[in-house]
Each structure stands twice: as structure tokens, then as C-alpha cells.
């Protein structure tokens, strides 16, 4: 396979609190190849958004990247100077945040916000910048006359499309999407996802897609990683993870969603509560909620191992047959 676009190795991110350090991202390694869509899923607080922020080196205190490397096209993102970071953000990797409502400045027009990105990164005339802004709005299905609108004049779905247009305008190689459609209803979500798919086909960018909606994940991603308490517990090709989950947490997550077409039966989900990162146990972090928990799980932390049946599949569980 070719060189990865983004390569994260052994990344740890801590939140420093009065009562101790909470390790929100714990020894995570992940590669994203050009043009690939990689998903990250897990419940709130599992570290998926923290990981996304780390990629753009956006963390500030109390969050601290304590170890690990982030390589983007062979360059170390964490050692960038301020100016290098400024250039790297948006022109190489852009982000779409969870709440489009808050990502746009309410007191300036969306046109200005689009143009601002172009002018900050490239030397071109205002006229050219406006033209590019208009083109990009049309790409996401919004009429160019909307350049003069303020965010409050647009619906939630349109605002999210504007945010996607802003993320696309410099043609970055990677777009990080942090729950881009969570606040929207299903019909709008479907439209935006369809559109994203076509834009991706046209421009060939890679996507890191963060969501807790596994069904949506299964629809759009090539590979998916499942995170629990800061660690990736399962990683593999999406269709295979969805059809034959190996880690008990993945199995539980997949069992937690009622389906609309399948048989109607009582589902049990996952018992217990998410882990408090300030009181991590020895051994596997999932032990308190796991049915298969044994002595070894309580003593040793399982490492990500390749699955014997599928060498693109990694699972961190003592109870799963590895190589």
C-alpha cells in the first residue's frame, strides 16, 4: 500500500485536573491513507473528539499531548512552529465541528467567512476570492446569492453545508468531521451525506469521520475504529467490523441500536456506566461492563493484536483469538 497521509503513533492526551490526570487518549495509533474515509466511534467521553483536536494540534491547557507522534505527509505536526501550524491548518487539514450553529460567526455574512479563509491562506485578489466563495457555495447546493446572508437567516442544514464549503474551499487533503450531522434530522443528514459522497468523489480528500451513530458509520466509512475510555479497542474494515464484531464493547454497541427493518425484540445494550478516567482499573478498562471478564482481564491490559482470520483487523481483548 502507498504512504499514509496521516499517521498517528502512540498518541497520549491528558487533561490535567486538580484530582489527577485524566488520560483521554491513551496510546492510540492510527493511519489514514489518501482518499480514505476512516470512522471513529464510541460513546461520549471516549476520547474521539480529543483525538481529532490533537491532529490539528488545537489543544491548549488543561489538555496536554504527553507522548506520541502525529505525522502528516512525513512532517511532524507536533513540532510545527506557529506559522507552520497556521499554514497547515485548513490548507492541508480542515475541520467540521459538531455544532454548525456555533462554528459560524453570527455577526458577519457567510460570504465574508468564506472569503476570509481564502485571503488568509493564499495571495489572490478580493474579486477572485469572492468568485471562489460563490463556486464553493454552489458545490454544496446553496445559491451564490446567499453570500450576503447571515448565519441566522439559514436553516441548520444549510449552515452545516456552509461549514462544509468553508472546510473544502482550500481543497485540503484531509477533512476531520466531528459529529457533523448530530444536531440535524435524518432527512437533512441524508442530503448532506449524499453530497459529501459526491464531493469526495470529485476532489478525492480523505475524511476522518467521528460519530456515535454506528449505522451512519457503516454506510460511509471504509475503515472504522471503536474507542473506549481513550483506547482503540477494535479497528478494521467497516463491513467486517459491523458484520462480525469481535470486541465485547463493539458487540454491545451494535446491539444498542434498534433497527428499523429487522426483527423486533428486546435488546439489552451494555450494562453499567462509562469509565471514570480518573479512576482507571488495572487491566482492561472494559472489565466492569464485560460479560467475559476473567482474572487475566483484571490484571493485564490487553494490547491491540491482529486477528488471525483477518490481518486488517485489530482487536484489544484477551478473549479474542489473535495471532
Amino acid at each position: 500500500m502507498n504512504q499514509p497521509l496521516l499517521s498517528i503513533t502512540n498518541l497520549c492526551v491528558d487533561y490535567v485536573t486538580d484530582t489527577g490526570n485524566a488520560r483521554a487518549v491513551n496510546d492510540v495509533s492510527l493511519d489514514i491513507y489518501p482518499g480514505e474515509t476512516v470512522g471513529l466511534s464510541g460513546e461520549s467521553g471516549c476520547g474521539k473528539s480529543t483525538l481529532a483536536f490533537a491532529i490539528a494540534n488545537l489543544h491548549s491547557a488543561p489538555a496536554l499531548i504527553t507522548s506520541g507522534n502525529i505525522n502528516f505527509e512525513g512532517q511532524d505536526v507536533l513540532s510545527f512552529s506557529k506559522e507552520q501550524l497556521r499554514q497547515f491548518r485548513w490548507s492541508k487539514a480542515s475541520m467540521v465541528f459538531q455544532s454548525a450553529m456555533n462554528a459560524l460567526n453570527p455577526v458577519i455574512t457567510i460570504g465574508e467567512q468564506l472569503i476570509d479563509v481564502v485571503l488568509a491562506h493564499e495571495s489572490c485578489s478580493l474579486k477572485q476570492a469572492i468568485k471562489r466563495g460563490e463556486e464553493n457555495l454552489q458545490l454544496v447546493g446553496i445559491h451564490a446569492s446567499r453570500m450576503q446572508s447571515y448565519p441566522h437567516q439559514l436553516s441548520g442544514g444549510m449552515r452545516q453545508r456552509v461549514v462544509i464549503a468553508i472546510a473544502l474551499i482550500l481543497r485540503p487533503k484531509l477533512i476531520i468531521m466531528d459529529e457533523p450531522t448530530t444536531a440535524l434530522d435524518v432527512v437533512v443528514e441524508r442530503d448532506i451525506m449524499d453530497q459529501l459522497y459526491h464531493l469526495k468523489k470529485e476532489f478525492g480528500f480523505a475524511i476522518l469521520f467521528i460519530s456515535h451513530d454506528l449505522a451512519l458509520m457503516g454506510e460511509i466509512t471504509d475503515r472504522v475504529g471503536i474507542m473506549y475510555a481513550g483506547k482503540i479497542v477494535e479497528l478494521g474494515q467497516t463491513d467486517k467490523v459491523m458484520t462480525s464484531p469481535q470486541h465485547p464493547y463493539t458487540k454491545g454497541l451494535l446491539r444498542s441500536f434498534p433497527t428499523i427493518f429487522g426483527p423486533k425484540k428486546r435488546l439489552e445494550g451494555i450494562s453499567g456506566h462509562p469509565l471514570n478516567l480518573l479512576e482507571v482499573p488495572q487491566g482492561c478498562y472494559f472489565q466492569a461492563r464485560c460479560d467475559l471478564c476473567e482474572t487475566i482481564c483484571k490484571n493485564t491490559m490487553p494490547q491491540l493484536r491482529t486477528l488471525s482470520a483477518d490481518n486488517h483487523r485489530f482487536v484489544a481483548c484477551h478473549k479474542v483469538e489473535g495471532e
Binding site: 436553516s155 434530522d185 435524518v186 442530503d191 449524499d194 457503516g218 454506510e219 467497516t238 444498542s256 462509562p274
Partner: protein, 327 residues
């Protein structure tokens, strides 16, 4: 009126003023001619997108809004009837709400005990002293918050989102309410916690509590509720048995909703849809026709001038659409 068995909404109309003009004040019609009923021990799900009027219906049923027309009847008695004059206390004893945000629904400076003590002492006047405490612990156990003694002494910030929503449910059932209006009770909770709350509410149905379950997630509607209604811009467009509505949707809007639900392994459509057709009308008291006409693939000329009548598809499945022709 201790044993109420039905909660009916008949032809409910609710308008909201759009401005403060003294003359020619403009209104929007948030709910237009909606009728449904909930039976004790049964759940009715109302599904629809943001702004379709589903929460407004629930709030009117808790008498937070006064309807402009139509009736809301608890066991055939109109809760807004001036002559009957049902007091807020009597209504609250039968009908309780659970809100979307379990963080905002509890007072952060009071313990869980305080949150439960007040409704119990008001609505269960026969309980005194120790008996209140015993009953409170029993309710906490019932919603799965054990050890109850410890939970009762905690403050809301010491509990997780799912536990807080359980407290909200405990508070609602502690009055002995027969009907619970649950307004998106799980949408703000963690994915692994949601099912636990849905299962808890399912267990409460077998204790004879009726639920109005408001959601935009049609899959959980089918999972939890026996009956489902689909709302679009203030109109109930299709309703009936959940399985029938979700497996054999007849209204073009229901079909659109169901086709939009993500599913593992689904393939993308070849061409993106025409987004200019996504207009959602602002419904006013003078608006005519079917609200979905602007987006409907099966639109006819008459759709713009009159609202379709109710067609019965099967025993418990109704639709309001001209395109539905019974065989």
C-alpha cells in the same frame, strides 16, 4: 378520578403569534387539526423533524399552552374546560413530563431526595414522615438507581446523564401518574445508556403507565411504542400500528423519513437530490392544501388547494394523502 384509562387529543389547533402588533397580528399555526389518543399501558410515538409541532402537542397536553381550538380529554373530560375546572394539582397527578435535557431538568443545588420529596408530599398526602422516605426509596429502586439510600443523598452533578434521566423518570412516576409525556428522553444520552432508559420505560408500560414518546428517531419509535404517528409542519400525516407504519409507509413523507434512516452497507444514490425542493412552509391559519406538497414527488394539482382527508389502510393504520388509493 383515580383510574384514568385514556388520554385523547381531538382536533388540536395551536397558533403562535409572530409579532406583537395590536391590529393584524400575524400567527403561525404550530399544530393544525391533530387528533390521537393514548391508552394506559401503551406508548404512542410521535415522529417528525425539528419544528413539526410534536413538542408543542406534548406541552399542550401538560397544559403549558392553551389550545386555540380542539379538546384534550383525560378520560373524556376536557382538561381546559372552564366549568369542570381541573386544578393543576389534579392534572399533574395524572400527567407528568420528562424532558430532553437531564442536566437542565434537575436543580443543581438540591439533592435527589429533595427532588422526589416534593412531588410525593404534594400528590401523596396520605403518606407522612417515614412513609414518604420508604416510598421514595422504593421508586428509586424501581428506576434502577440502587443503592437508593445513597443515591437519594447525592446532588445531580454526582450522577451521570443516564442516572439523571432515571431520576427525572422517578420524579414523574412518584406522583402515581398514569401518563408520561416524554419529550426526546434519550437523545442527549450516551449511546450505550439509551437502551437502558428505553427498556425501563417499556417495563413501566406493563405497570399500566401510558407514554407519549416524542422523537425524531423512527427506529426507537418502532422499538418502544406500539403505535406511531408521523407529523409534518403541524399535521399528523400518517399514524397507526408502529410495525405497519414503519414497514409499509404510505405517506410520501413517511417514506422519505424511512429511506433517510442510515443503514449499514447501504449504497449512495447516483445523483444528489435537488435541494431547492427542500422547502418547509411556514404554516399560517390561512394556508391551504397539504403542507408536504412543495416537496412531494407525487404531488397533484389539488394538493395545493385542499388538505387530503383521512384514508383507512388497515384496522389501525391511517394516512392523509391523495396519492393513497385503496384497492
Amino acid at each position: 378520578m383515580n383510574q384514568v384509562n385514556s388520554f385523547e387529543v381531538d382536533n388540536l389547533v395551536i397558533d403562535f403569534a409572530l409579532d406583537n402588533a395590536i391590529f393584524n397580528r400575524k400567527y403561525m399555526r404550530a399544530v393544525n387539526g391533530v387528533s390521537f389518543h393514548i391508552k394506559a399501558g401503551e406508548a404512542l410515538a410521535i415522529v417528525g423533524e425539528s419544528g413539526s409541532g410534536k413538542s408543542t402537542c406534548a406541552r399542550a397536553m401538560a397544559r403549558m399552552y392553551e389550545p386555540n381550538a380542539g379538546a384534550i380529554c383525560l378520560d373524556k373530560k376536557d382538561i381546559n374546560d372552564k366549568h369542570e375546572h381541573l386544578s393543576q394539582e389534579e392534572l399533574a397527578k395524572q400527567v407528568q413530563m420528562i424532558f430532553q435535557d437531564p442536566f437542565g431538568a434537575l436543580n443543581p443545588v438540591h439533592t435527589i431526595r429533595h427532588h422526589l420529596y416534593r412531588p410525593i408530599s404534594i400528590h401523596m398526602p396520605h403518606l407522612k414522615g417515614e412513609a414518604i422516605e420508604d416510598y421514595m426509596l422504593e421508586v428509586l429502586e424501581r428506576v434502577g438507581l440502587s443503592p437508593a439510600q445513597q443515591t437519594a443523598s447525592k446532588y445531580p452533578h454526582e450522577l451521570s446523564g443516564g442516572q439523571r434521566q432515571r431520576v427525572a423518570i422517578a420524579r414523574a412516576v412518584s406522583t402515581g401518574a398514569k401518563f408520561i409525556l416524554a419529550d426526546e428522553p434519550i437523545s442527549m444520552l450516551d449511546v450505550s445508556i439509551r437502551l437502558g432508559i428505553l427498556n425501563l420505560m417499556t417495563d413501566m408500560k406493563s405497570d399500566g403507565i401510558g407514554f407519549l414518546y416524542i422523537t425524531h428517531d423512527i427506529a426507537t419509535a418502532r422499538y418502544f411504542a406500539e403505535r406511531t404517528g408521523v407529523m409534518y409542519v403541524g399535521h399528523l400525516v400518517e399514524w397507526g400500528d408502529s410495525d405497519s407504519v414503519t414497514q409499509h409507509p404510505q405517506h410520501p413523507y413517511t417514506q422519505l423519513l424511512i429511506s433517510a434512516v442510515p443503514e449499514v452497507g447501504r449504497k449512495r444514490s447516483a445523483e444528489p437530490r435537488d435541494y431547492s425542493k427542500n422547502q418547509i412552509p411556514l404554516w399560517t391559519p390561512d394556508s391551504k392544501g397539504c403542507p408536504f406538497a412543495l416537496r412531494c414527488p407525487k404531488v397533484e394539482a389539488k394538493c395545493h388547494s385542499e388538505m387530503p382527508g383521512i384514508s383507512q389502510i388497515s384496522d389501525d393504520h391511517f394516512v392523509r394523502c391523495f396519492a393513497y388509493k385503496s384497492e
